[in-house]
Symmetry: C2
DNA sequence: TCTCCCACCTCAAGTTACTTGAGGAGCAAG
DNA sequence: CTTGCTCCTCAAGTAACTTGAGGTGGGAGA
């Protein structure tokens, strides 16, 4: 039962990151310095892979790397639970705002497409109501 | 009634872009070559400002510049209405997918925050259920 | 054992859509 | 005529990676 380690490829497969991304994270200090094999290859153990999965999950949840760094600090005991909670709350707010924006976009775009589908019989640009609607939202341009 | 033109600052104010962004668009070919005053300053007229507003609106709707370019081609008569329609449809799909993703994120994050708020009395990391939950989603890491 | 090829290594540059900064010049007001 | 704002160009910086060039290592098949 030696501390068996795996190559960057295996770590990538297990964490859902690409090898290049993993190296990038290491360079950015999100991972500790990784041990190397005799041949100079990186050797990943459980703890590192866990950390990679954690990072990956945070990224999936939309956290920017800087905040992932802060969350890792919390995980490492270098920060308070409250700090993590407020990061998460901020992220919730941000996601909620983005979701609302997406809903509005979906509405607007659907409207554009619908007007086109209804009115434009052929593919003639001059008659395309959609392009007109695109422009219609454009308020006064001044003199 | 000469063709009165405005400076880049005024064009920026009217279009909602910044001067730097406008120059960037010009360099990227989204705008035609802009006339210059005697002193070498860019002079914007109605058509250009209209174009800027159009670009701005497309960007607000989430279109990447490459697709904005395609939509501008349509507006310029260099593309079919059908082409524009399929771009818009693709954008709708993309926005819809993103919105769904945002909803899921909101759920997940809210769950994390709630578990923390319920259980964690103080700001002690060791007791923070949230950080545990972050980790909990992490499946088997292999040997 | 030899050879092959894939996975790995480093370093540099490219991507998107801009933003920021340095260094210099026009232009209108006081 | 001097201030100070806006403008000019060119270069570099940003997030979060990805891609590519050029070179090494190591396990598998012949």
């Amino acid at each position: 039962m030696t501390k068996s380690g795996v190559t960057i490829g295996a770590a990538a497969a297990r964490s859902g990151c690409t090898p290049a991304t993993i190296r990038f994270y290491e360079e950015g200090g999100l991972l500790p310095t990784i041990d190397r094999s005799v041949g100079g290859r990186r050797v990943y153990r459980r703890a590192e892979i866990f950390r990679l999965v954690f990072i990956r999950r945070c990224r999936d949840l939309g956290f920017p790397l800087e905040q992932v760094r802060a969350l890792l600090d919390v995980m490492d005991g270098k920060g308070s639970c409250g700090a993590a909670r407020s990061l998460v709350q901020a992220q919730i707010d941000s996601v909620r705002a983005k979701r609302a924006e997406m809903e509005a976009l979906e509405q607007t775009l659907s409207g554009l497409a619908a007007s086109c589908t209804d009115v434009c019989a052929r593919g003639d640009v001059d008659d395309c109501t959609m392009m007109k609607d695109f422009a219609a939202a454009q308020a006064d341009l001044g003199p």
